[in-house]
C-alpha cells in the first residue's frame, strides 16, 4: 500500500493510503477524542467529537470518516476545536437525563470520562429533561433511553457483526430512540438476546441486569478463556471479582470470527441450579450426606459384589477435558472391564462415525472455511444458541455471493437471509436429504414423489440440487437438531453428498456443530458403547455416570425402571441425581482445566475459579476408586495428549 505523509497539528506523520485520518492518528499515537467510533464497526461520524479542521475546507470534518491523503494539513488539538468538543458534550448531556450517581456505568463510562477530560463542570445549555421510557423486557439486559447518546454502536454491531439488524433508530431529531423491530419491546422483537449491544454501549444505556450496580469493570480480574457451553468453543473474557464471575464479554470486534450468544454471555452468570457440595448415599429412599471415604467404600463393596461386570454402563459428559475422558475410559475398560463406555450424547457421533468410515479421513471444515464457501447448506442449526457462525455465514453471502440453503422443518432464524428454505413436513429432513444426495450422485430418483412425500415444492427441490451441483466450495453445516429431527438417515445422506462433492483443501466439506465442548475428542478417543447402549434403558442394571455440570438431557432416561445401582458425578441437582443411589459432587467447567478440542480448534484451557474445598475433582475420585477396586490406574496419568499423539 502506498505511503502518504500528512501534517497534523504542525507535525509530519506517515500513514497508508485508504486509511482515515483517525487511523493515521491512532497509529502515530496522536490522541483524538471519540465516542461513537469503535474498532470493527463502520465509522459514521455521529458524535462529532473527533472534529478536525482540514486546510482548504470551510467546514469541520470528522476524523473517523475523513480519508487521509498525501499532503493533507489537519488541525486536531487546538483550543478552538476543544471548545467545540466541549460544546458537543454539553449538547449530549443536555439532551437526555445523565445522572452519573445513579448510573450503572459510572466509572466505566466513556461519556463520563470525556466529561472529566474536558472539565465539563457546568452546562451552559438548558437541560432538556425529556420523559423517556426504559425497556426492561429482555430477561438479561435493559435499555434505558435516558442514558443513550445515539452513537449507534449497538445498531451497527447488531447489523454488521451479529447480522440481525433488530435495533435501529426510530423517530427523528431530539425524539430519536434506539428501538427493536417496529417499536416493539425487546422481548417481543426478533432479538436473540446475544447481548453484543451491552458490550459495545459506551454509556449506561444498555446494561446487563445481573452485573449492574455491583462492581466496576476496572476492579475485576479479566480472564480470557474458551467458552464450553457448546461445541463451538468461542473466545470469552470473564470478569471475576471475589472468586465469582460477574460479567462476560466476547472478543474485541476486530475479530468478528465468533461473537458470543446468550448462553455464553449470560447463562453462566444466571446459574440458579442447586449445587451439590457433599457426597451422598441413598438410604431408605432418601439421599443422605456421608463422608467421601464411606461413599468410596460403599461403591467398592457394591461393584465387587457384582457377578456380571460387562453390563455396567459408563457415560461421561462431553464437557470434560481430554485427560479426564481418557482416564475415564481406562477406568471403565481396565478397572470395571465393561465395553460400554461412551459420552452422554454418544448418539451424536454414532451416526456420523458410520458415515465417515467411507471417507477415510475425519477432519471437517473449520469455521474459517465457512466464510470462503460459495454455497452453504444449513441443516438443523439453532441460531439462538449458535449465532457466532451467523456472522461467518453472512460474510460468505456478502463477499462470495454464496447461495444459502436452509433445510429445516421447524422455525429457523436463518430463514430471512436464506435464498431457499426447504421446509418439509415435521421431521421430514431425511427424505429431502436422501433425494438430494441421490440426485447429486446421479442415481435415479423420483423428485416428484419426494416432493409429494415431504410436502415441499418440486421447483425448490430442483433449484437446490442445481445450486449444490454448480457449487465449487459447498459446505454443509449441521447441528444437533438434525439428529433429533432427521435421524441417522439424514446424517448419512449429508456425508454421502460430501463424498460426492469431494474435499475442500483436504477437509470434508461438512462442519458439525456438536452439543458439547469436547465431543470431537471423545470421538477420537473411541469412547463408543456397543450398539443400543448409551442411555439408561431397561437393560442397564448398573450405571456409572460422570455428568459434571452438563445440562440435564431427558434423552438419557428411556425407561421408567431404575437401575439396581446408579452412581452419578453431578455438579447440580437434576432428575438424574434424584434417581441415583450414590451422588459424588463434581466441578463446573469454570473450575476445571485441561486440553479441549472444540470446533474453533484444539487448546489448553485453564481453570478460572477455585473449586469449593469440599469437592474433590473427578480425576482424583476416579483414580482413588480405581485403586481400591484393584485397577491398573496409578496416580501418574498422562496429562497431555494431543491429536498428533493419538495418531501415533
Amino acid at each position: 500500500m502506498k505511503e502518504i505523509t500528512l501534517r497534523i497539528d504542525g507535525g509530519e506523520v506517515k500513514g497508508k493510503e485508504g486509511e482515515t485520518v483517525l487511523d493515521v492518528c491512532l497509529a502515530n499515537g496522536i490522541c483524538v477524542p471519540t465516542l461513537c467510533n469503535m474498532k470493527g464497526l463502520t465509522p459514521v461520524g455521529a458524535c462529532r467529537l473527533c472534529a478536525i479542521e482540514v486546510e482548504g475546507e470551510n467546514k469541520l470534518n470528522t476524523a473517523c470518516t475523513y480519508p487521509a491523503r498525501d499532503g493533507l494539513v489537519v488541525r486536531i488539538n487546538t483550543e478552538e476545536l476543544n471548545n467545540y468538543r466541549r460544546r458537543m458534550l454539553e449538547f449530549l448531556f443536555a439532551e437526555r437525563n445523565h445522572y452519573c450517581m445513579f448510573c450503572e456505568k459510572s466509572g466505566d463510562c466513556e461519556l463520563q470520562s470525556l466529561a472529566y477530560r474536558f472539565q465539563l463542570y457546568s452546562n451552559q445549555l438548558t437541560m432538556f429533561n425529556p420523559k423517556l421510557p426504559v425497556d426492561p423486557s429482555n430477561r438479561y439486559f435493559a435499555i434505558d433511553h435516558n442514558r443513550c447518546v445515539l452513537c449507534g454502536r449497538c445498531i451497527r454491531a447488531c447489523d454488521e457483526i451479529v447480522g440481525l439488524h433488530v435495533l435501529d433508530f426510530s423517530e427523528r431529531g431530539a425524539k430519536t430512540l434506539v428501538t427493536a423491530g417496529s417499536k416493539e419491546p425487546l422481548e417481543k422483537s426478533a432479538c436473540i438476546g446475544c447481548g453484543l449491544c451491552v458490550q459495545v454501549c459506551p454509556t449506561g444505556a444498555i446494561f446487563d441486569k445481573t452485573s449492574s450496580y455491583k462492581f466496576n469493570r476496572l476492579d475485576c480480574q479479566k480472564i480470557a478463556t474458551t467458552c464450553e457451553e457448546c461445541g463451538l468453543g468461542c473466545p470469552i473474557n470473564i470478569f471475576v471479582k471475589d472468586g465469582k464471575p460477574v460479567r462476560i464479554e466476547g472478543p474485541d470486534l476486530e475479530d468478528p470470527r465468533v461473537q458470543l450468544c446468550k448462553a455464553g454471555r449470560f447463562d453462566i452468570l444466571y446459574n440458579d441450579h442447586r449445587r451439590i457440595s457433599k457426597p451422598m448415599i441413598r438410604e431408605n429412599g432418601e439421599l443422605k450426606e456421608r463422608p467421601m471415604e464411606e461413599v468410596l467404600d460403599f461403591i467398592v463393596k457394591r461393584i465387587s459384589s457384582l457377578k456380571d461386570r460387562p453390563s455396567i454402563l459408563c457415560l461421561a459428559s462431553g464437557m470434560y477435558s481430554n485427560d479426564t475422558l481418557e482416564l475415564f475410559k481406562r477406568f471403565a475398560t481396565e478397572t470395571l472391564r465393561t465395553p460400554h463406555v461412551d459420552t452422554t450424547d454418544g448418539y451424536w457421533y454414532k451416526t456420523a462415525t458410520k458415515s465417515l468410515q467411507g471417507l477415510g479421513e475425519d477432519v471437517e471444515c473449520s469455521l474459517e472455511d465457512i466464510s470462503k464457501a460459495d454455497c452453504l447448506l444449513l441443516i438443523g442449526l439453532r441460531f439462538e444458541v449458535q449465532n457466532p457462525i451467523h456472522s461467518l455465514i453472512r460474510k460468505a453471502v456478502q463477499s462470495n455471493a454464496a447461495d444459502l440453503i436452509v433445510i429445516s422443518s421447524i422455525q429457523n432464524s436463518f430463514r430471512d437471509m436464506s435464498h431457499v428454505w426447504l421446509k418439509p413436513r415435521f421431521a421430514g429432513e431425511d427424505i429431502l436429504l436422501e433425494a438430494i444426495s441421490k440426485a447429486i450422485k446421479g442415481d435415479e430418483v423420483d423428485l416428484e414423489e419426494t416432493a409429494r412425500e415431504s410436502h415441499e415444492k418440486l421447483e425448490n427441490l430442483q433449484l437446490v440440487i442445481k445450486m449444490v451441483n454448480a457449487a465449487k466450495r459447498c459446505i454443509m453445516i449441521y447441528g444437533e437438531d438434525l439428529i433429533r429431527l432427521g435421524g441417522s438417515r439424514a446424517v448419512a445422506s449429508i456425508y454421502e453428498i460430501a463424498t460426492r462433492k469431494g474435499k475442500i483443501d483436504g477437509r470434508i466439506p461438512v462442519t458439525s456443530i456438536k452439543p458439547r465442548s469436547n465431543n470431537s475428542r471423545a470421538w477420537h478417543l473411541r469412547l463408543r458403547s456397543a450398539p443400543g447402549f448409551g442411555r439408561l434403558d431397561r437393560r442397564v442394571r448398573v450405571a456409572y455416570l460422570m455428568l459434571g455440570d452438563e445440562p440435564f438431557d431427558p434423552y438419557l432416561i428411556t425407561s421408567p425402571e431404575k437401575p439396581d445401582l446408579l452412581i452419578v458425578h453431578g455438579t447440580y441437582r437434576s432428575p438424574i441425581t434424584s434417581m441415583a443411589h450414590v451422588v459424588i459432587p463434581a466441578t463446573t467447567w469454570l473450575e476445571r482445566s485441561g486440553h479441549y478440542d472444540p470446533v474453533t480448534g484444539e487448546r489448553r484451557i485453564g481453570s478460572i475459579l477455585e473449586k469449593p474445598a469440599s469437592i474433590k475433582d473427578e480425576k482424583t475420585v476416579i483414580t482413588e476408586l480405581s485403586m481400591r477396586l484393584g485397577g491398573p490406574i496409578g496416580f501418574a496419568t498422562p496429562e497431555i495428549r494431543t491429536r498428533g499423539d493419538l495418531k501415533k
Binding site: M101, G107, S122
Partner: protein
Amino acid sequence: MKISTVWLSGCSGCHMSILDIDEALIDLLKKVEVVRSTPLLDVKGFPPADVGIVEGAVATEEDVETLRRMRDSCRTLVALGDCACFGGITSYRNLFDKEDILSRVYIETESTIEGKIPQSRQLPPLLEKVKPVNNIVTTDCYIPGCPPSPDVILYTFKELLAGRMPILPSEMASFE
C-alpha cells in the same frame, strides 16, 4: 476574605463537606470571615461578601430570589456540588409533572390519611422545572461532586485566597 454561603434546594451535604475539612478549618477561619451561612449562622439579609458559595439547585421562587440577592451581594459566585452545577438529585423531579409530584408526596404516600397539598401563601411556590444555578445568574466557578470531597473544597478555598479562580484538575473532579 468575607464569605457568604447559602443553601438552596439541596440536602446541606455540601455544607457538611465544608465542615469536614476538619483541622484545616482552624487555619482557614483565621483568613476568612463567614458573614452569612444558611445552615450555620442565623444572619438575616445578604451582607456584602467577596465570595458567595451556593449549594443546591433552584426549585422554588424563593430560591430564585435568594440566588439573585446572593449574586448582587457577592463579588465571586461559586456553585458547590452537583445540584448547583447541573441540577443533581433535586432535578430528578423534572422527569415528572409538578402536580404529580405534589400529589404523590402529600396525598398518595402510603403513610398518609386524608392528605392535602399545602396551599399556604407563606410557602414559596415550586418552579415548573428545577434548574442549576447558572440558568438564573452568572456563575463564576463550578465545583461538582455529590458532595465535593473536603480536599476539593480546601483546594477551592486556597485558590480563592490566592486570588485565582479555581478550576478543578480532572483527577480531582467527581460526578458521583
